[in-house]
Symmetry: C2
Subunit: 407 residues, 2 copies
């Protein structure tokens, strides 16, 4: 008979250790996502939309309607690559005179993050080289860690930046041209063109991650790199090196977990094979809600109010920073996106040490270490301005100033 | 200026090749999922529920209600590990006198498939050994291919099966004890106990994948292996070696993409770190619908009708097989699940060659090769009986018999 009831687990052999990459991960995203539980905490850490923008009644009604009208598509298994109608609508949404897209260029993903995960799966093997804008989105680092990549920094701020040298030999280059996360900076047109040209010259895939593209507050939007690369396809369908990624998380609601990848059909096919073994397919319920929200114009109608709200909040944050922190930090006012990147005047200031003091003072920030693949940059912090109203942003900055006096 | 408009893509350098594992994947699941497009095809290939069982109006109304009542949870980002209330309900659902679970034992996943993907990410590195019931669920093979594992077959049918020897050295052992996919067989109690004992003795994780546990047609359900292992935890919370996986896809609706993992807290924490970089979190909309469907009793209420319908369909399929195919195949009548596993009397019969003939005749089956990690077993086929009504099942078997005459 089994001795299971009398032998405690502690006498069992050691269980297998977890994969190596788990030793290198961080729990900052989990801390941010759960920070809502701390009473009166002002979180400027995450990249969260303003919840008052959610079209609650409209989306609730849509959800009921799409399940009733499309029971097989919403409640059954769907195609791995996404519902054909949604892929079609997305292909039209990003097509232009310079860029011919069909549904074969589109994969629907379970949020923007899944596109990054799938990309790692299809392109990176142990030690594979990723060239990435630095500092960069920590979620992308999380997505690729299980593939044990090596990382080459793309310093797009360097006036001597050599795009061909920077991309050569990489499995892919990762960029966020619109309001880069975490710096909020816009990558200019000449640099976009240079990256596209370098992708063509080196044969490297060029990832254009664009969650913030619709959050453009001032001036005209710049062309997408995938549109700049539209002429790379001799045939009737885009077949160039740019892998464009987007999401409804910032424009409509993150809880739908709907994102997309637009790329050459061969890349879409590879990502589809990876998605099959990742989650089989994205929920038909949320795909159909997303489709109805785009087709009914709800997404486009929501944009002006969103831009107005976020512009005012950016202004409020920058004004508070100017009043309380300009002696300790410098920053650029971003023309869009969700974040201000504040760099300490004192190179020895350590925002990893600032974080717990800030939490004690009732404000949460994202320290620069989590955006550095090597985890070493301690001099800056990312401040979100979309989640909180102006008075809370001002109060958050005052708390941050108080925490700094105790550093 | 850029030469992009004048230089065709074909003159560009080669793009980086895709990861090795993509060369070993199969497109059978995609074929199955898209087989709905072939007119009048009778698909007995996939593992699809009967769509007439979907509680369309109830789920549609729930979706509207949960978005209205919980806008922040449904439309915003949620905790990586799932909504606390849903984790709590799942912990209660699987707790028993022998098994003490809290929400720390539960991870919500985006469908059952995601649990398999995350498991590979946290436990398998290049060449890592997986011991798996064979033949096995092809989706599991798809999920682990990107980790380049090696595979050891667990032949649970072998009377001389040595569980300790079979599990020793493996990162984990993968089993589907209830109505194993693809064979439909129930793993008996002595073997369940032997596997649990072997997991304890070897320190190997033991995966109990249980999508079909509620589809029990005849006799009493057997205890889950995680319950048999409940005494392995000296403390107040389960901390044993069994990793139990479930899903609402068979019990309620696959389109919700809601699954779960129940395991030791350390395993849940590792899987959560992997999920963070995979899709950040599962949709709050579908999580809240799942929670409401479980709490309102809808899921439990749906079970008797589902069991009655599927039992009748199993009987119809087996009767048709007895009438038309008993000279060519042998099978066991399964006491639950979704599949009959039919093995050819002639060891030289090749179901890979049968598949295209069957498709021409208007019926789709799953050939045994796709359930063999080595792709070599060609002698059997898996037939689904849940999707089609009895008359279509009978017609499907007649078409299959016609295809066999042309083989």
């Amino acid at each position: 008979m089994s001795a299971r009831l009398s032998r405690p687990a502690s006498q069992s052999p050691e269980r297998p250790g977890f994969a190596r990459w788990l030793g290198t991960t961080n729990d900052v995203t989990q801390t941010f996502l759960s920070a809502g539980g701390v009473p009166d905490l002002i979180s400027m850490a995450g990249g969260l939309p303003a919840p008052e923008l959610y079209r609650v009644e409209e989306i609730a009604a849509l959800a009921q309607t799409v399940i009733r009208d499309h029971p097989a598509e919403t409640l059954g298994y769907g195609p791995v690559e996404g519902l054909p109608d949604l892929r079609e609508v997305l292909a039209r949404r990003f097509s232009s005179a310079d860029l011919r897209l069909t549904r074969d260029n589109v994969l629907v993903t379970s949020g923007g993050m899944q596109g990054l995960d799938l990309l790692g799966k299809v392109l990176v093997e142990d030690g594979g080289l990723i060239a990435g804008q630095s500092p960069t989105y920590m979620g992308a680092l999380d997505a690729w860690r299980p593939r044990n990549p090596t990382f080459r920094k793309l310093d797009l701020e360097d006036p001597a930046f050599d795009a061909v040298g920077a991309l050569a030999g990489a499995r892919f280059a990762y960029t966020v041209p619109n309001f880069s996360n975490p710096t909020g900076r816009l990558v200019g047109l000449p640099l976009r063109q240079a990256l596209v040209d370098a992708a063509r010259a080196t044969g490297t895939w060029l990832v254009e991650d664009d969650p913030y593209g619709q959050l453009h507050f001032d001036g005209a939007p710049l062309p997408r790199m995938i549109a700049l690369s539209g002429g790379d396809s001799p045939g009737p369908v885009y077949d160039g090196p740019v892998v464009y990624m987007g999401t409804l998380s910032k424009e409509l609601a993150p809880g739908l977990r709907i994102g997309w990848v637009v790329a050459a059909p061969a890349m879409i096919a590879a990502l589809t094979a990876a998605k099959q073994g990742s989650d089989m397919c994205t929920s038909g319920v949320t795909q159909r809600v997303a489709l109805a929200a785009i087709e009914s114009g709800m997404v486009d109608r929501a944009q002006p109010a969103m831009v107005r709200l976020y512009r005012a909040r950016r202004d409020a944050l920058c004004a508070a920073l100017a009043e309380h922190l300009s002696d300790r930090f410098v920053w650029e006012e971003p023309v869009g996106g969700m974040f201000v990147w504040a760099v300490a005047r004192d190179p020895a200031l350590d925002t990893d040490r600032l974080l717990p003091l800030a939490m004690q003072a009732g404000v949460c920030i994202a320290p620069s270490s989590v955006f550095d693949p090597a985890g070493q940059d301690r001099r800056a912090m990312r401040l979100n301005f979309t989640l909180n109203p102006p008075d809370r942003l001002a109060e958050g900055v005052r708390r941050l100033a108080a925490a700094l006096r105790r550093l």
